[in-house]
Amino acid sequence: MTAPTQDAPAADPSAEVTWVELQRASGLTEADLAELVRYGALTPRDPAATTWTFEARWMVVARHASRLRREYELDPYGVSVVLSYCERIERLEAEIRALRARLG
């Protein structure tokens, strides 16, 4: 049986998500997430707050981290290192796209 059509807007990447939502979306443990924040791979809105909240865009990063943890069997520090390399690759690819756009 096909479920009925559901109307749904995509989330605003700057909307706020809770620590619990981030944990559920990523499947990472609280301890893993806390380590990723400690290593700078994830950044809460207010690192000094007693309960962290995040911009929704970090959900995608947290899921990526979870994939890397699972697929490469890395500890959280290893995940944070690989994430930083992935971010560098994305920035370089964006620069290449920008140059190609300008050069035609």
Binding site: A10, A101, R102
Partner: protein
Amino acid sequence: MKYKDYYAILGVARDASADDVKTAYRRLARKYHPDVSKEQEAEEKFKEMAEAYETLKDPEKRAAYDQLGRHAPGQDFRPPPDWGAHFAQGQAGFDDIDLSDLFAGLAGRHARSGGGGRRADRPLPGSDYEAVVRLSFEQAFHGAEVDLELAALEWDPDGGVRRVPHRVKTRIPRGVTDGEKLRVPGKGGKGAHGGPDGDLYLDIEVAAHPLFRVSGQDLYVDLPLAPWEAVLGTSVQLPTPAGAVTLKVPPGTRAGQQMRLSGRGMARGGGAGHMYAIVRIEVPTVVDDRQRALWRQLADGASFDPRAHLDQEAAR
């Protein structure tokens, strides 16, 4: 259900040790992980080998897989008659699922039963769904409503797994870029026993446009000019995604110059990128005698030397 030879996929013998299986997976992961691999079909290959490793690294799943018997890869097969009773209680059938679903069901069944004790009423979150959304440039520029048909893996009441079609209509905001990932909250699988519904994650792919090149929120378009237009200046009609605009080209415009059309790029949230028209000087390749004479007259009378700086640099 089609058979996959997980041992062959990882390149190990059927009696390989757990360490050998792990080493084989890690070697292949380094080569095919989609985050870094430029190999053709890396994503597909990685998905296959990750599925194989997920089953073979777990002793219980590996034993269950071995009991399926050996078949030719890609061959339609059914588990042996007593396999379901032993490893997949509650699984109603095997025709609408594939091998990875079957072993996902094994893992999920274990989690849902509390890993040993029955905790059937524990709140369980719904699965997250992922889908690729392919947009035209126009859809990305203006935003679009898309209708997605997903075949999601869900639990049935008897504890088995099955693929259920779902339709989700969602609004893609304007200004999305190729490679972007969007989250649609609460539109994944249904949670159980009061658990939250899963989310839907969309991978956005945007087709290239024949005229407009995208860089972040900015757009680039070539503006071809005849030599006399660049020298004397002119007004041109320039196409933009929101309709043509009149662009004033000042006298003395040079090749490669970028003319900015503010706010005419991809809009996103409250702002918008810019559009840049990049000047290209095009010369006529076919001229008649009269035109050639006019060009010769211009050449003979002009003191302009575009290569003056080359002589100066060479003389240093």
